[in-house]
Amino acid sequence: MQTYPKKRVEIFIEAPVLNRLLQFLSDQDVTGYTVLPALAGRGDSDRVWSREGQVGDAGRMVAIVMIIDEAKLDTLFDRLYAMVARQIGIIAVSDCTVVRGERF
């Protein structure tokens, strides 16, 4: 089956700004993303966090996975990065392939 190369963008971002980030993605006409929960983590700043027993959103992370066309990613990456860098968050980009190339 014919497949097409795309980018898999994985963003770990603090939960309180999730909605803003998703709004940003919608504004950029991103064709799709999925938000995954995260349980716990540890970062550069030596902060350890865990979702257990927490009521509030501050201090916890969520993950966003987004399969996207490279050209499209290029047009929005700088602004996306600026937004994530201001907050607690990281972005990692890797390669992947999909079937319906035009869909992403």
Binding site: V17, R20, R51, E52, G53, Q54, V55, D57, A58
Partner: protein
């Protein structure tokens, strides 16, 4: 005086305080005891639902006071004024940056609803009544402090590259889940009155105290874990602030309540609200509005220092103070 100690002593061995202490100790000892996040959130929604509904039903039963409007206004003023005091103290006695100080100040102007609930429960154990609309005062005090903190940090905000107006923030703060649940249940309790209360009291009255104990156990676990991982972010003057500030806020609140002529229970609750520091709504708002501020500081200070202080010592003190000021 002897009375205060008796009160504090009785408080210390109440199931509420003991379950909080159990959680705190278990977390420090690195037990893996923990509540699922979904359970903690649901317990918290339950408490908001119950306290809001009961407050509204209370207003329906006793009618509104002329004082309602005044107390709401006074609550908003306290919520706006306390951050200014807090900020002043923090900038004087600690080495925290302007933005960290502003963020912390927002927490102390705003309120902790669980502290409020614990105070209502302590009042109930002592048979002291309070105005049902104090629930609405709690709701109104959540927000003004945030606006004042943003104004305190205006120099930092001004330096940021413009990134479009953020009109969403105000709506988000005003319509955050806790406020909507609390206010909504309050209004519904008010509309449906004692008849409505009778329908739901099998859920919101009978198991209330027990649920509060479970929730405090969870809070002890979270607070203890926070202290274990982040206590090193808190310099001694900052910890001192976390113990003194509730006394200042509490005294202001109690005086205001007495001036307004609230009942002793109402005075104690206004003191408690003023003394308490937010640890859910404000931290989330600060991550959006002041991401430069270090969350390890404000979260740990509010939840790990001030919350336990209020629960264990503050509440009996505010009740004692209220009895002195408002007769009883």
């Amino acid at each position: 005086m002897a009375d205060i100690f008796a009160l504090a002593g009785a408080n210390l061995i109440s199931p509420m305080v003991l379950f909080f202490a159990l959680g705190f100790a278990a977390a420090l000892a690195r037990s893996d005891l923990s509540f699922p996040e979904a359970a903690a959130k649901t317990l918290s929604l339950y408490l908001l639902f119950a306290i809001g509904f009961k407050g509204g039903a209370g207003v329906a039963e006793h009618g509104i006071d002329l004082k309602l409007g005044l107390t709401l206004g006074a609550g908003a003023v306290l919520s706006a004024a306390i951050p200014l005091i807090a900020f002043g103290i923090l900038r004087t006695v600690t080495r925290l940056s302007l933005v960290d100080a502003a963020a912390i100040a927002a927490h102390y102007g705003s309120i902790s609803i669980v502290t409020f609930v614990a105070a209502t429960s302590a009042l109930a154990s002592r048979g002291i009544e309070y105005e049902g609309y104090m629930v609405a005062v709690a709701a109104i005090m959540e927000t003004p402090a945030i606006l004042v903190a943003l104004w305190l940090a205006r120099s930092v905000i001004a330096e940021r590259p413009t990134m479009g107006s953020d009109g969403g923030l105000m709506r988000e703060i005003a319509l955050n889940g806790s406020i909507v649940m609390l206010t909504g249940a309050f209004i519904i309790g008010w509309i449906t009155g004692p008849a409505g209360l009778a329908e739901v009291s099998g859920l919101i009255s009978d198991p209330f105290k027990g649920v509060l104990c479970l929730f405090l156990l969870d809070m002890g676990l979270v607070a203890g874990r926070g202290m274990r991982s982040s206590a090193r972010h808190l310099a001694p003057p900052v910890i001192g602030f976390g113990l003194i500030m509730p006394l200042i806020g509490g005294t202001l609140g109690a005086l205001t309540g007495a001036l307004l002529g609230l009942s002793p229970g109402g005075v104690a609750l206004l003191a408690t609200l003023s003394a308490s520091a937010s640890y859910i709504a404000v931290p989330a708002a600060m991550r959006v509005a002041l991401p430069e501020a270090n969350p390890s500081i404000y979260l740990t200070l509010s939840l790990g220092v001030t919350f336990p202080f209020n629960l264990v010592l503050g509440i009996p003190l505010y009740i004692a103070l209220a009895s002195m000021l408002a007769g009883g």
